[in-house]
Amino acid sequence: MEPISFAAVGAGLAVIGAGLGIGRIGGSAMDAIARQPEAYSKIQLAMIIAAALIEGAALFAIVIALIK
């Protein structure tokens, strides 16, 4: 059995964080759209931007995992 590669475990943890964060944003965006369907495009834009920023943070961790 190969020894555990901590870099891969770290990358997996980072993805858990990103998944939780973006999931929450998606959920709030859905609630907001349900309350006010006219604001759909503005909410969608804000959701995409927030998702990209969170993904940026998760990718920091992946870059460090790749270096190791």
Binding site: I49, A52, G56, L59, F60, V63
Partner: protein, 359 residues
């Protein structure tokens, strides 16, 4: 007239690439043939992927069954204090050959870099020659720059010819994007009076990143498929431009915010000042890492999915793999646009924070 010069430039670049054309290489080292015999080397997926994502001095097209490689060998331009300027094709350095005292390291710490090696075979590890070569990423960047220039000069030319009228042709494609950048990125962040100064930079950054992202996704033919924005030196330069613009357009209120933010008690200042200084560096740093990691991660995912076919060594995986690759490529398309937009938006935001309008 300008369009003709550009078309000419494009063809000159293309002709240069073709004339360093694809050389088929004979197997030079006959000693290693006897060692390997007929054993198929196990497919090393991570080395394959990392080699494709990284920059390289040659444009590798394919490796034939008998080990010959077909590649376009790009020019190598080196400058070192002892030897001066050297310009030659990277074919002379392929497969670990030594040419004129230079060697392309293939393993170890200095992998991928060109080092000087003197007659005894001692490598000078402290002083590497300055490498100005036209590598894969440079050619990809130049190609994208020429395409971008051609697009926008045609746009300007058609405006000059027909005036401000209803858009047709390339205008109808580019004008909404430019207006989007002006109305949704520049004006909200930079204010209505100051945005015009920064529009050229924001437009250039957006389209440069977008065009390079998109060209990186197209695998074939050669000037496409170069991983430009996934190269940390390129994203570092882009973030550095943003950093310079922020510092040079910071007015007195900006520097006051950094060194003596209003409302902060004096005893807290020794903590706040280093924090603010780190903030100045960390914001462009995040810009750099975000773009680099997103694009490189996308390329690595696509390459891994294709490598699945070779790892499992069976053709049955191919439909599944290709389906996933198509799906990931659509996601990558979204990421290409999104990352260009986010970079431009955050640059505008940071510049806007440096030129704050007073309430």
């Amino acid at each position: 007239m300008k369009k003709r010069i550009l078309t000419g430039l494009f063809f000159v670049l293309f002709a240069i690439i073709c004339s360093l054309s694809a050389y088929s290489q004979e197997r030079h080292d006959t000693t290693s043939v006897s060692g390997q015999g007929e054993t198929k080397k196990k497919f090393d997926a991570s080395a394959f992927i990392l080699d494709h994502v990284a920059d390289s001095h040659e444009w590798h097209i394919l490796t034939k069954q008998n080990g010959e490689t077909v590649a376009i060998y790009l020019p190598v331009i080196l400058y070192s204090k002892e030897k001066g300027l050297d310009l030659f094709s990277s074919r002379k350095l392929a497969h670990g050959h030594i040419y004129k005292g230079y060697k392309l390291e293939e393993e170890g710490d200095l992998k991928g870099k060109i080092v000087t090696i003197n007659e005894e075979g001692i490598i000078n590890e402290e002083h590497l020659p300055l490498d100005f070569s036209m590598t894969k990423a440079v050619i990809g960047m130049l190609f994208a720059a020429i395409v971008g220039l051609w697009l926008f000069l045609s746009l300007a030319h058609s405006y000059k010819k027909t005036g401000i009228s209803h858009p047709k042709g390339i205008q109808s494609f580019l004008e909404p994007v430019v207006l989007f950048i002006r109305d949704d990125i520049a004006i909200p962040n930079l204010g209505e009076h100051k945005y015009e100064k920064y529009m050229p930079y924001l437009l250039s950054a957006f389209f440069f990143i977008l065009i390079n992202n998109l060209f990186g996704l197209i695998p074939f033919p050669p000037p496409f498929g170069a991983n430009v924005t996934g190269n940390i030196a390129v994203t570092f330069t882009l973030a550095f431009f943003t950093f310079v613009i922020i510092q040079f357009s910071g007015n007195k209120a900006y520097w006051k915010h950094i060194f003596a933010a209003p409302g902060v008690p004096i005893w807290l200042l020794p903590v706040m000042i280093p924090v603010e200084l780190i903030g100045i560096i960390s914001k462009p740093f995040a810009l750099m890492i975000r773009l680099f990691a997103n694009i490189t991660a996308g390329h690595i995912i696509v390459l891994s999915l294709i490598c699945l076919i070779f790892i499992f060594d069976s053709l049955a995986i191919a439909p599944v793999s290709v389906f996933f690759v198509i799906f990931m490529d659509c996601l990558e398309l979204l990421v290409a646009f999104l990352q260009a937009y986010i970079f431009t938006l955050l640059s505008a935001l940071f510049i806007g924070m440096a030129v704050p309008e007073h309430h």
